[in-house]
């Protein structure tokens, strides 16, 4: 089978103008006419990126900010040309780099559906055909003839995604549009995108949300400072990305309080060091500290924050009424969790230390970790939309239950 997209040695160079403005004025042009050109610095947003995409694949592009993800999407969607290299495409590409491109505040919902749809590449005939589905999906039928400026931002977003969801190109390029909207709607969008990918269309998806990437994509590409670092299955790419990010964001040493974290390790119930966790797993978290000072009335805490930067849970020694005295030297604090009740998802671990009721040390982004669900073949897997805490429960049906009328 021929690949639907062949990306061959794509590079993109930007010239950074040290005057600071991206545009020029005539005066600048005239004043540099007789002077040697000002300092221009080359910046390679992408360097020699090659990969192939086969029909029906869904590919997730992962990378930190500035890794070149957006530039790659812009080149693929023909918004900006590559500096060198070529791309062969064997299908219609529709790109969704923003929801509601071309929305006009003065136009009504109905008019905006047509405007937005046609900018995204739909024919009027197709929009006519899909119109009812779009309105249905967005849930804005009551306001169809109201100008968009009277819509809430959530409604605008729903309308915009509804139009985009009904595009039918062979290749769909999506940039992190799911990062907005309420949880219920996000779930709906993700579900719609799964349908799209199951119907055999090709999806290229950029997101920072590893959970939705895992759910939607089969293959992942990890970009790092403009170069393609890993091209592999989504799970290993996501793990590599998180590991990579941890090693950079750690700022463990501290002189402020005299106590600092040296290392944090998580073990499973058989004593193996583990990277990612599983819901209901029994784990043991060991924090290695080093202290240069004497302190008493010290308490330690480990917190898990979810992707929305909401605290999911806190393990604080105070909750167990445990206070310690610390003297210079190394020591470790061990937290044991018999059954982890976190909903599957991505979490950021935070640690803080208090002494006499005052916070003396705090380390954000101590470590990133992924919690997954043990049983993969379940019909529904809990995720962040179901809350942060997952109860350990059983369910059964008992005889002689009254029928529900």
């Amino acid at each position: 089978m021929k690949p639907i997209l062949e990306i061959q040695n794509i590079s993109k160079r930007f010239q950074i103008n040290h005057q600071g403005v991206p545009y020029l004025s005539l005066r600048d042009k005239l004043s540099t006419l007789f002077k040697p050109a000002g300092k221009k610095e080359d910046f390679w947003a992408l360097r020699d990126v090659s990969f192939e995409v086969y029909p029906g694949e869904s590919i997730g592009i992962i990378g930190r900010n500035g890794a070149g993800k957006s530039t790659l999407l812009k080149i693929l969607s023909r918004i900006t040309p590559p500096t060198s290299g070529r791309i062969v495409s064997r299908g219609r590409i529709a790109s969704l780099l923003e929801v509601g491109t071309g929305f006009h505040q003065e136009l009504s919902g109905r008019e905006n559906i047509y405007m937005n749809g046609s900018i995204l590449g739909m024919k009027k005939r197709e929009i006519d055909k899909q119109f009812d589905n779009i309105v249905d999906f967005s849930g804005t039928e009551k306001f169809l003839d109201t100008p968009l400026k009277h819509y809430s931002s959530g409604m605008q977003l729903r309308l915009a995604f509804a139009v985009a969801a009904h595009l039918e190109p062979e290749i769909l390029i999506i940039d992190e549009v799911l990062a907005v909207g309420d949880a219920e709607f996000q779930k709906k969008c993700l579900g719609k995108m799964e349908d799209v990918s199951k119907s055999g269309r090709t999806i290229i998806f950029v997101s920072h949300n590893m959970e939705s990437l895992r759910q939607l994509c089969t293959r992942g590409l990890l970009l790092k400072t403009g170069a393609l670092e890993i091209n592999s299955d989504i799970d290993s790419v996501a793990t590599a990305y998180l590991k990579n990010r941890d090693s950079r964001s750690q700022s463990m040493s501290s002189v402020k309080s005299g106590i600092s974290i040296e290392e944090i390790q998580i073990y499973d119930d058989e004593g193996r060091s583990i990277e990612s966790l599983t819901t209901y797993q029994s784990i043991r978290i060991e924090c290695h500290f080093i202290s240069n000072v004497n302190r008493d009335d010290v308490t330690f805490a480990i917190c898990f924050d979810n992707i929305y930067e909401k605290r999911a849970t806190t393990l604080w020694s105070s909750f167990q009424n445990k206070k310690y005295s610390v003297s210079p030297g190394r020591f470790k604090v061990v937290f044991e969790i018999p059954s982890l009740h976190l909903v599957p998802g991505e979490y950021s671990m935070v640690s803080y230390i208090e002494s006499r009721g005052v916070e003396i040390e705090r380390i954000d982004n101590l470590r990133r970790t992924i919690v997954s669900y043990g049983a993969k073949d379940f019909s529904s897997i809990p995720s962040i939309v179901h809350g942060s805490y997952l109860e350990n429960f059983t369910v059964q049906i008992e005889k002689d239950v009254k029928e529900y009328y």
Binding site: Y23, G85, V88, L97
Partner: protein
């Protein structure tokens, strides 16, 4: 996978218009034009009446000052008909350049997020002006009937379509050129209204071309794309013969603007998203 669709994205692109692609996107012309017209008259009490009112009021004021008070000659036509015939074309030209010249900047958010042939944007702005033209044209016909203007119908069938063709060519060429330039040099936002103001007075709109006696100056005057368009448009309703050489100069100038304007636009359009 759809059969037959295959295209290549590369750094160097063709600099001529890809008509096949524009045909695929033809509905977008309609939607952009439709949107601009809708938005233009939303929340106005008089709405589309403005399209009629604007040229009529201008014609009335110009007739009062230039026709009555200053006795500007009008090539044998009643002055209101004379100035209306010029303004009719001039308004399309000036409105096109005003909106289309800025169109790349006003559409920057869309340009950065989605691909379609960029030329659709300035051309749609011109189509908006053309819709206004059609309405004003009907008013012009009524005014002409009212003043019992004598018309040579054979000439009319040749010259009016040519005049409209020249008017559109000049508008598209200069608009595209300015649209591309103003992405790069924001100065053009200030230059455009200023130059248009002056250009009205060096075009034969409010006075006939014959008032310029100096023959050398006439050639410079004819470089103006609107010179040919206005002369063609007036030819069937006046008895003054066309100055062949001057009209030829204007036609060549207009077509050069069209070709060069589009060429410059195509040459720079790939980088609009990077610098706008």
């Amino acid at each position: 996978m759809a059969e037959g669709i295959e295209y290549v994205i590369e750094s160097s692109r063709r600099r001529i218009i890809d008509l096949k692609e524009i045909w695929q996107y033809r509905e977008l012309f309609y939607f952009f034009t439709w949107r601009d017209i809708k938005v233009k008259y939303k929340q106005t009490v008089l709405g589309v009446i403005w399209v009629v009112l604007q040229p009529v009021l201008t014609v009335a004021i110009f007739s009062l000052f230039f026709g009555r008070a200053l006795n500007v000659p009008s090539a044998g036509l009643p002055y209101p008909v004379f100035v209306f015939s010029g303004l009719l074309l001039w308004n399309v030209f000036s409105a096109s350049i005003n909106t289309a010249g800025n169109s790349m900047l006003t559409h920057a958010p869309i340009i950065k997020k989605i691909y379609f042939p960029r030329i659709i944007i300035p051309v749609s702005s011109i189509l908006v002006a053309l819709v206004d033209f059609c309405i004003a044209f009907i008013v012009f016909l009524m005014v002409s009937v009212y003043y019992h203007v004598k018309v040579d119908f054979v000439e009319l069938l040749i010259f009016w379509p040519s005049a409209i063709f020249l008017m559109l060519s000049g508008s598209i060429g200069i608009s595209c050129w300015l649209a591309a330039l103003s992405v790069k040099y924001r100065d053009f936002r200030f230059v455009i209204p200023f130059v248009l103001q002056i250009a009205l007075f060096v075009s034969p709109v409010i006075y006939p071309a014959s008032v310029i006696g100096n023959s050398l100056l006439n050639y410079v005057f004819a470089l103006n794309p609107m010179y040919g368009a206005i002369m063609f448009f007036r030819a069937p309703i006046t008895s003054t013969p066309l100055e062949n050489i001057l009209v030829l100069i204007s036609v060549i100038s207009t077509l050069s603007f069209l070709v060069l304007g589009i060429y410059y636009f195509k040459k720079t359009e790939a980088y609009f998203a990077d610098i706008s």
